[in-house]
């Protein structure tokens, strides 16, 4: 008994010593990239997709950036904000990373941003899409290489009205910042084009049974716009179909409702779903075809946008580090270089940051189709070089509040 206790005490002490202050010579060592994402817990598979994308890029460049070796430190945050904050402290204070890339859920993006600014270590947000981080509450040290939740929704809303001809739409979205922003962007441009959102339903994030919401869908709708993420994208289309709704109201939605992460697990119930996003694995360009082929060979599955954005984040860090001759210790210059990166041939297409720090990039409207027994997001329309403000003037756009449950208000409900 006593021995066991002693052993465990010694064990803890050894662990503590192991993560003590980093020695001074570390400054001349490798470029340290800190990654954090959910590697265990409910969103572990998405976290794996993200880490895989980043690793794949670093493998491709032989773990060498600007003539220096690269060290990737992978931390698990379980998709929990508290753990994410702790891991942020660990990466910065204990590992002394030079740059970070991480995160999945938008609300974690909001939670981390003030701390990132405090530490003055640049952090890439390849996925976390919280609108305000590049709009009303910009964070200096956050470099968003991904997107804002409302970015794909803006062109999509108008397109749905003009091309699909739907006049009245019911929206059902996950009840948190990301859901509000995707839905808000859609509602704004859809209604400005002449459409009407006639009902808004907000199931909470972990909803298992959508029946109470599905039963409320108004019968005078032309279509239903759904915003689901991860597990809910898996179960929603089936429950939607089983409730007899698919035949009556076509299903359109935010990009994550039909993203490549869940497509392999979905059945025919998803076919026909139309959604906009910054990426589709079915994108017919040589760069993307090569990316999909190699990713598949390596990890045995089709890359999702989570993989693509983290793959490109790796490239982003490389370009910025090269531009400053590998001197990533100079954090101000490094940050400036990160903001200037322009990539013309990422798998998802050309990308560069706008004046507010959000990528200007293509938005693809995708339709779920079955090819060779697999579901793919066939691209049916491309909107080139869309910014987070789309056709709106930034300063006017920023006068409206951030999209929320009640903004834009539901005028036709």
């Amino acid at each position: 008994m006593g021995k066991k206790l002693l052993v465990s005490v010694v064990g803890v002490l050894v662990l503590v010593a192991g993560v003590g202050p980093a020695p001074a010579w570390a400054q001349k060592g490798p470029i340290k990239i800190g990654y954090q994402g959910p590697m265990t817990g409910p969103a572990a598979a998405v976290g794996k997709d993200m880490a895989n994308g980043l690793k794949m890029y670093l493998d491709e460049v032989g773990h060498q950036i600007a003539g220096r070796k690269v060290e990737l430190i992978v931390e698990d945050n379980q998709g929990q904000p508290d753990l994410a904050l702790t891991k942020l402290r660990k990466l910065v204070e204990s590992d002394k990373v030079h740059v970070m890339a991480g995160g999945l859920f938008a609300h974690i993006g909001y939670a981390l941003a003030p701390k990132v600014d405090e530490y003055k270590v640049p952090m890439l947000y390849p996925v976390m899409a919280a609108d305000d981080l590049t709009q009303r509450k910009p964070a200096k040290w956050v470099v968003r290489t991904g997107w804002t939740g409302s970015q794909p929704s803006h062109p999509f809303g108008e397109w749905v009205f003009k091309t699909l001809g739907y006049k009245k739409v019911v929206v059902i979205g996950m009840d948190y910042a990301f859901g509000w922003e995707v839905v808000g962007g859609f509602q704004k441009s859809f209604e400005e084009a002449g459409g009407q959102v006639i009902q808004k339903l907000w199931p909470p994030l972990n909803t298992a049974d959508f029946a109470p919401y599905l039963a409320q869908i108004r019968k005078d709708a032309d279509a239903v716009f759904a915003l689901m993420v991860a597990v809910s994208s898996l179960r929603f289309p089936k429950q939607y179909q089983d409730a007899g709704l698919k035949a009556r109201f076509p299903l359109i939605g935010g990009g994550t409702t039909f993203d490549e992460f869940v497509l392999p697990s979905l059945g025919d119930e998803a076919i026909g779903g139309i959604s906009p996003l910054i990426y589709s694995a079915a994108l017919d360009t040589p760069v993307n075809k090569r990316f999909v082929k190699e990713y598949r060979a390596k990890f045995g599955k089709v890359p999702s946008y989570y993989s693509e954005t983290y793959y490109t984040a790796g490239r982003w860090i490389n370009e910025a580090a090269k531009a400053i001759g590998g001197n990533v210790e100079d954090n101000e210059r490094f940050l400036a270089a990160l903001r200037k990166v322009e990539i013309t041939d990422a798998p998802r297409g050309p990308i560069k940051l706008d004046a507010y720090g959000n990528p200007i990039q293509n938005i693809y409207i995708r339709k779920v189709e079955k090819k060779d027994g697999e579901l793919w997001n066939t691209v049916i329309q491309t909107f080139p070089a869309v910014s987070q403000f789309w056709k709106y003037k930034p300063d006017e756009f920023l006068k409206q509040p951030v999209y929320s449950r009640d903004f834009p208000p539901c005028k036709y409900c």
């Binding site: 409910p42 976290g47 907000w202 909470p204 298992a208 029946a211 597990v231 007899g244 059945g267």
Partner: protein, 284 residues
């Protein structure tokens, strides 16, 4: 009108799923007074085993049976090696079963990866019955039927067989049961395995409806507890009525008071407990 019919049907069918999940838990509570944090894990692991069987054989019925049996054995192992020794120590039980829940959670992740899956159900169970403007998903009707069948079988076993009489006697008063020569440890073991069996059944059935995914274990666990608390521990009738109440409360709560949807679920519960601390049908 249409709204009420559909929402009631939804509530009842969700309640049916909860009954499968919590029926066994209620008996475990009643008999052994074990607060079993692993119960949600049985549900999740059952789903995973069912998934593997579906992938291998494509047979849905086999998936349910295999999932349930394998997990019953897992539960039996957990009970025999650890829980049996902790009788009467609630704190020890809570922590041990929580430990198992974490271990199972992580093993699930290691073995099945973190991707969410759905269990492909037979074609006969997809689609919906249409009654005028009303649509009733076939799969929900199926869940109600499975739960009803389980309830009837359990009731017959409990009320009409020797084993059932022994179980009831043990729930009522374990000391007395021991006194009249009932092998209480063996009965307890059997009931614990039955609880795991039913939870895993619920897991496979739910897999065709909400999917099998990491995190399902702790998501469903509070619901299982709540059913048992409301119905009263150790009472089959209580578990049945508790499940229906929770299913309906959850459904109408979400429809009418979306902002307070969990409050409308848990607050009535607290109110019931304030009046009857042992639940509607429980005995202290």
């Amino acid at each position: 009108m249409e709204f009420w019919v559909i929402q009631t049907f939804n509530g009842v069918s969700y309640g049916a799923l909860l009954f499968l999940l919590a029926g066994g838990l209620s008996l475990i509570f009643g008999m052994m007074r074990i607060v079993n944090m692993t119960h949600g894990s049985y549900y999740l692991l059952g789903g995973y085993v069912g998934l593997t069987v579906i992938w291998g054989t494509g047979n849905f019925v086999l998936a349910i049976l295999a999932g349930a049996l394998v997990i019953a054995l897992v539960g039996l192992g957990e009970y025999n090696t650890f829980l049996k020794r902790l009788s009467g120590q609630e704190l020890g039980q809570v922590l041990t079963t929580m430990g198992f829940a974490l271990i199972f959670q992580d093993l699930g992740l290691v073995i099945w990866g973190g991707e969410p899956y759905t269990i492909r159900t037979p074609a006969a169970l997809s689609g919906s019955y249409q009654l005028g403007e009303l649509y009733f998903p076939v799969y929900r009707v199926f869940i109600v039927m499975v739960a009803a069948a389980v309830a009837v079988v359990l009731w017959l076993v409990l009320e009409r067989t020797r084993v059932g009489a022994m179980i009831r006697a043990t729930v009522d008063d374990a000391e007395m049961a021991r006194g009249v020569g009932i092998n209480v440890p063996r009965i307890s073991m059997g009931v614990f395995a039955l609880g795991a069996f039913l939870a895993a059944t619920a897991g496979v059935v739910a897999g065709g409806f909400v999917g099998v995914y990491p995190g399902a274990d702790f998501e469903i666990l509070p619901y299982a507890f709540v059913v048992v608390i409301v119905g009263g521990m150790g009472s089959l009738k209580g578990a049945l009525i508790g499940s229906l109440m929770v299913g309906l409360l959850d459904n109408f709560g979400k429809a009418f008071f979306p902002e307070l949807s969990y409050f409308t679920l848990f607050a009535p519960m607290a109110a019931i407990l304030a009046i009857r601390p042992t639940g509607l049908f429980g005995r202290a």
